[in-house]
């Protein structure tokens, strides 16, 4: 375990990381105990065989062997090997099985915890990083708790026992032959760490290669139109060459590990041959002892190599466990109140009072001292990019924590209301929509899995996508994703709208959720929704003013503040920012 720096801080950290898996160990302690017993059984039985061989050879040498005796020895060997087989199956199933159970338990726990974390956390930890955690780190932990644990106890037991037997035959010779062994352990540990490092590089380069091919082939039309075939092939060549190079660097270390270990083991053999041979000739040990010594030596090589390998495995496992622990320890900023008030029926809507909000203390606030009441009917929100429209929607949808007494729902501070309860009142459609690889129907019914086909269809019609869904190969049962249909940006947004509408919740927030839909369709959708929206509290953000012209009320945001507030006609008459944007868009749409 030389690879782990002996440092109090490291040990404390490692110990606290191990705390994550300790309950699982405790839960399965009987299983583990049985597994280790089986392991010990395999090892003890294995050690008997060289003794039988020694006995046979000695008997033959001394001429006292009998046919019955030989048969007896042979049958004993067979019997023992059967015992070994049963025990071997036992430890594999019990201990390796345990490591898999541990892996699955940890993954479930990790996922369940991630589902409780909030938006600010996921902004710091992108999905890619968490994915790596769930695959690479978990498998490092699994390896350490499965193969690592086995190899460690196996190696410890085997080397102790083998050394004991050898020392029993001749202590001096044993000391001589094990001289190269620490070197073997050290070398294995050092080289397997190097291999791991270089292997990771190879993996990274491989994914770069994969990413590049995917990128090129999925935009093949553009590659052809811009005659980029040559350029792409050259870039691919460069990537491929460095992949070749990384592989070679790996092979250089890998090519050293096994020959070196083989050589170190054979050096021991050489020592036995030279010194043991001399001892036998002088009569200090019998020829049977000599043969058994060689058998034991064969048995010692693998455990010693394993010790080096295991040290490295444990180190990786603990590092990974530590990373997993930091995720499991992360607490959301947006938390359920300790004693939530009962959720009131939604009728009056939201009130914002002097709300100031920033994404990070280092950044200027996105909303500044904002006061606004949002009641039944359609509220249109307009403003330039970065004026705080999306921030406002996300705060209303309870995706970020807000300061005390700044955001009220039904005159109750929203921080005092149950989180899931508030969210169950809100249907929110963001600009970047996510469509799951599942059927169209399942995607629409996401928030209401028991929705009838008629309900799903009504929602799809309201989002003006029913016709297009019917045109797909299997209609509502068409699968979306690489294997199924690919949707255009506009189709995805309308699908997400259908999903949002199906929720039929009292509050509806559309955060520029139809930006990729063409103007006519967006307008038609919103116009059709009017009667439905009248009974709800509805906030719509859009860049296209004409889609919002019918709104009951419009607010214009600029730099996190409300700068204009009124109906379409009033705001036009005002001659402010709204009128300016309108003038431009009106000209662009061809009517003045």
């Amino acid at each position: 375990m030389a690879a782990i720096g002996i440092n109090r801080e490291t040990i404390r950290k490692a110990w606290s990381a191990v705390g994550v898996v300790r309950p699982v160990f405790r839960q399965h302690r009987w299983r583990l105990l049985a597994g280790f017993l089986a392991l010990a059984g395999v090892n003890s039985l294995q050690l008997i065989i060289p003794r039988i061989i020694r006995q046979t050879v000695d008997n033959l040498q001394q001429g006292i062997a009998t046919q019955a005796g030989l048969l007896h020895f042979a049958l004993l060997v067979l019997l023992i090997s059967l015992g070994i087989g049963v025990c071997r199956f036992g430890w594999r199933y019990l201990i390796l099985g345990f490591s898999r159970i541990l892996e699955v338990d940890l993954r479930n726990a990790l996922f369940a915890h991630l589902l409780t974390l909030d938006r600010p956390y996921f902004q710091k930890k992108p999905p890619g990083e968490l994915m790596a955690l769930a695959s690479n780190d978990l498998s490092a932990v699994q390896m350490a708790c499965g193969m690592g644990l086995i190899a460690f106890s196996d190696a410890l037991f085997m080397s102790m026992a083998t050394l004991g037997f050898m020392a029993y035959i001749h202590p001096g010779l044993t000391l001589l032959t094990v001289l190269p062994m620490p070197l073997l352990a050290g070398l294995t540990s050092y080289l397997s760490a190097r291999i791991h490092h270089r292997f990771k590089k190879v993996q990274e380069q491989f994914s770069r290669l994969t990413e590049f091919s995917r990128d090129t082939l999925s935009s093949i039309r553009l590659v052809k139109v811009y005659t980029q075939e040559q350029d792409r092939t050259e870039r691919f060549n460069t990537l491929g060459q460095s992949y070749v190079r990384d592989n070679l660097r790996l092979a250089l270390v890998q090519g050293t590990l096994f020959p070196v270990s083989g050589m170190v083991a054979n050096v021991s053999m050489l020592l036995v041959l030279y010194f043991g041979g001399r001892l036998t000739i002088r009569g200090a040990i019998t020829i049977g002892d000599f043969a058994a010594f060689i058998s034991y030596l064969f048995m010692l090589t693998w455990p010693i190599m394993a010790l080096g390998w295991v040290a490295n495995l444990f180190q990786l496992g603990v590092t990974s466990l530590h990373r997993i622990k930091t995720v499991l320890d992360a607490a959301p900023k947006l938390i359920e109140p300790a004693a939530p008030l009962p959720l009131p029926a939604v009728s009056q809507g939201f009130a914002l009072r002097h709300l100031t909000f920033g994404y990070a203390p280092s950044l200027p606030p996105a909303l500044k001292d904002l006061s606004l009441t949002i009641g039944p009917g359609v509220l249109g929100v307009v403003g330039r990019t970065g004026s705080g429209k999306s921030t406002l929607c996300q705060l209303l949808a309870r995706l970020y924590p807000v300061p005390e007494a700044s955001l009220f729902l039904e005159e109750q501070d929203i921080n005092r209301l149950p989180l899931a309860g508030v969210r169950s009142q809100i249907a929110y459609l963001p600009q970047e929509v996510l469509v799951f690889s599942d059927t169209v129907a399942a995607n629409i019914a996401m928030g209401k899995p028991d929705a009838s086909p008629a309900e799903i269809e009504t929602a799809a019609r309201a989002a003006a996508i029913h016709g297009e869904i019917l045109a797909m190969p299997q209609g509502y049962q068409t699968r979306i994703g690489e294997k199924g249909a690919t949707l255009s940006g506009g189709q995805r947004q309308r699908l997400a709208l259908a999903r949002t509408l199906l929720l039929n919740r009292p509050i509806l927030i559309l955060d520029d959720g139809l930006s990729a839909v063409d103007t006519q369709t967006e307008h038609a959708i919103i116009a059709n929704l009017r009667p439905y929206l009248a009974q709800k509290i509805c906030i719509i953000v859009s860049h296209r003013l004409q889609a919002l012209a019918d709104a009951d009320r419009l607010v214009v945001l600029a730099e996190g503040r409300v700068v204009e507030d009124g109906t379409h006609v009033e705001l036009l008459a005002n001659g402010g920012l709204y009128a300016t944007i309108h003038a431009h868009q009106g000209m662009q749409e061809g009517c003045q």
Binding site: F89, I220, V225, T227, E229, S437, C591
Partner: protein, 601 residues
């Protein structure tokens, strides 16, 4: 719901004895025959050394250690001499082993690099219909995993199989030479081991495939869930997601436990067989010794060779699986290489004058699938310098016109000419430079902004680039970037917004300065400032150029000299904005929605 979240598993087995596949694979290896011969030569050394070591041991025991006929000093000297030889052989084995690993990796990687490169450039030459039929995920697998499978076979199997073969033959020869009766007895165990191996390799393969698929399912589910955590929270779907994830994990656990059982049975069975051999040697060999037909040294050597004999047999099943999947990969790769779906290229392509700006569609009928035409007998002409706008609902065939004009497809009937030359008579690369395209989606090369604008127009100097950047309305962006146009884009570099990407597309087309411009306007809207920039860029790009525009912005439509209105692959109306509005037909209907709602009337 069992399904794979877009993960592919192609795992049908392939007979390892298909001669034509082997022939083709060896064809790739032929240029490296020196290296391969070297590796095989090293195999001989390694095997020789590996087999020689126990032989030396036997020599030492029989000739010196137990040989009472010699004097003690002579016996000691003999052991010392053999120990020296042992050491020399050890060194030789180490060097040969190392050299072989490195040599094989180097050769294997180069063979695979060549193959990958050939496959990649072959794929880029295939036409769009091919890509419509084959999902990208599958094609990427060809370039990555399939090649990787073959590489694995090449480095870890072909030569080691040769190694094993030589070693097994060598061991058998030695055993037979030492005591043929005992050797024959041991051979009786070989069929049992082989049968066990084959049976196991099938089971192990299935087990591994199930684990791989299960893990892929878990990861894809996780990927989706992680990118949609807030969606799950907003829809109160946490319990459902947790349960579904648990179910996926449960299935995965069952598969891993199954795999552990399969291995847990195979390993002991091989071991029992090996022990059986040991028992046989003790019983039969012991009897031989008692009858004086064999020496003790032979018995010790037999026991030592046994280990060497069973080691390769234990690994055989793994190697067999590798060869099987490599053969399947090879077949898929060769199948792809044998696909020749590219549009025919004229042997002596015409090169029309640079300013050949006239575009004519003459009775063009075309469909992506047979019997489902998207364009019906379409004819129209665009005069040099004219701007033609095409409007129509989604699916009316607008984008198909672009695909045909860029010759991504050939029409089923009718013809298209550019500058009086039929597209089929032109060099496709020339055509695509001549007909510039600004599309909705913009690809980013992982390189600097400058390289992204120029692409292959490396002859453009900085002064000219400044003009282009200015005309494409990118000056403001370039100025605010830390390293100007040397800022890196794409992976690890800066991300452009949708609007900035549109502007980049204009800059590209201005750099190429094509005689004909095709503009496919993006439907998604951007904020007002960017919108103004894009309109200016469109202005510059269209000026004095033959242009075909699939238009969404009314401002662009009104700028056009002529408008085609399309429905279901046919032209239903054409004229200027004013004349079409006056005609009060489909165009009027399409526009009226927007106009009616504008402004307080």
């Amino acid at each position: 719901m069992r399904y794979d979240f877009g993960y592919f598993e192609e795992d049908h087995l392939k007979k390892v004895t298909e001669a034509h596949l082997w022939q083709r694979i060896l064809g790739y290896v032929r240029p490296f025959w020196w290296e391969v011969a070297g590796a095989l030569f090293l195999s001989l050394i390694i095997t020789g050394a590996g087999l020689g070591l126990p032989a030396l041991l036997r020599e030492a025991v029989d000739n010196y250690i137990v040989n009472q006929g010699l004097t003690i000093p002579a016996r000691l000297a003999g052991v010392t001499r053999l120990a020296g030889l042992f050491l020399a052989l050890l060194g030789l084995e180490f060097v040969a082993n190392f050299l072989q690993v490195v040599l094989l990796e180097w050769t294997g990687q180069r063979v695979m690099h060549r193959m990958r490169q050939q496959l990649f450039s072959h794929m880029l030459g295939l036409n769009l219909s091919f890509y419509n039929r084959n999902p990208v995920g599958k094609l990427v697998t060809r370039l990555t995993n399939d090649i990787q499978n073959m590489h694995e076979m090449f480095t870890s199997v072909i030569v080691t199989l040769f190694n094993d073969f030589i070693r097994l033959t060598g061991i058998l020869a030695i055993l037979f030479w030492m005591n043929w009766r005992l050797a024959l007895c041991m051979c009786l165990l070989v069929p049992a081991i082989l049968a066990n191996t084959l049976w196991f390799s099938t089971l192990a393969r299935n087990a591994f495939r199930r684990i791989r698929t299960g893990l892929a399912r878990i990861n894809s589910f996780l990927q989706e869930a992680l990118s949609g955590v807030s969606l799950i929270q907003l829809f109160n779907r946490e319990p459902y997601s947790r349960e579904r994830f648990k179910a996926l994990n449960r299935a995965y656990l069952d598969d891993t436990l199954y795999q552990i059982k399969v291995f847990g049975i195979f390993m002991p069975v091989v071991e029992i067989l090996a022990m059986g051999a040991t028992a046989l040697i003790i019983w039969y060999g012991g009897n031989e010794i008692m009858q004086g037909a064999m020496t003790i040294g032979v018995l010790v050597a037999f026991l030592a060779y046994m280990r060497l004999f069973f080691q390769p047999l234990r690994e055989l099943s793994q190697k067999y699986s590798i060869v099987q999947s490599a053969m399947a990969s090879a077949e898929r790769i060769f199948q792809l290489l044998d696909t020749h779906e590219s549009l025919p290229v004229a042997r002596e392509p015409q090169l029309p004058a640079k300013d050949g700006g006239m575009v004519v569609f003459q009775n063009v009928t075309f469909g992506y699938a047979p019997g489902q035409p998207v364009l019906h007998d379409l004819s129209f002409t665009v005069q040099p310098g004219e701007t033609l706008a095409i409007v129509g609902a989604t699916g009316s065939g607008k984008s198909t016109i672009i695909n045909l004009l860029e010759r991504l497809y050939d029409p089923d009937s009718g013809g298209i000419t550019v500058g009086n030359a039929d597209l089929r008579q032109l060099d496709p690369a020339w055509l695509r430079r001549h007909v510039g395209l600004v599309m909705q989606d913009v690809f980013i090369v992982p390189d600097t902004l400058r390289a992204n604008i120029l692409l292959d127009r490396l002859d453009i100097d900085d002064a000219k680039l400044t003009t282009i950047v200015d005309r494409a309305q990118l000056t403001a962006l370039v100025r605010q970037l830390p390293e100007g146009w040397h800022t890196r884009l794409g992976e690890g570099g800066m991300e452009l917004s949708a609007g900035q990407k549109q502007l980049l597309a204009f800059a590209r087309v201005l750099a190429r300065d094509p005689a004909i411009l095709v503009l496919d306007e993006a439907t998604s809207n951007v904020d007002t400032e960017t919108e103004i920039l894009i309109e200016r860029a469109i202005d510059t790009a269209l000026a004095n150029r033959t242009s075909i525009v699939i238009a969404h912005r009314l401002s662009t439509i009104r700028r056009a000299h002529r408008i085609l209105v399309m429905t279901e692959g046919c032209i239903v109306e054409q004229g200027t904005h004013d004349s079409l509005m006056a005609a009060a037909g489909l165009y009027y209907h399409l526009q009226s929605l927007q106009v009616r709602e504008c402004g307080p009337s």
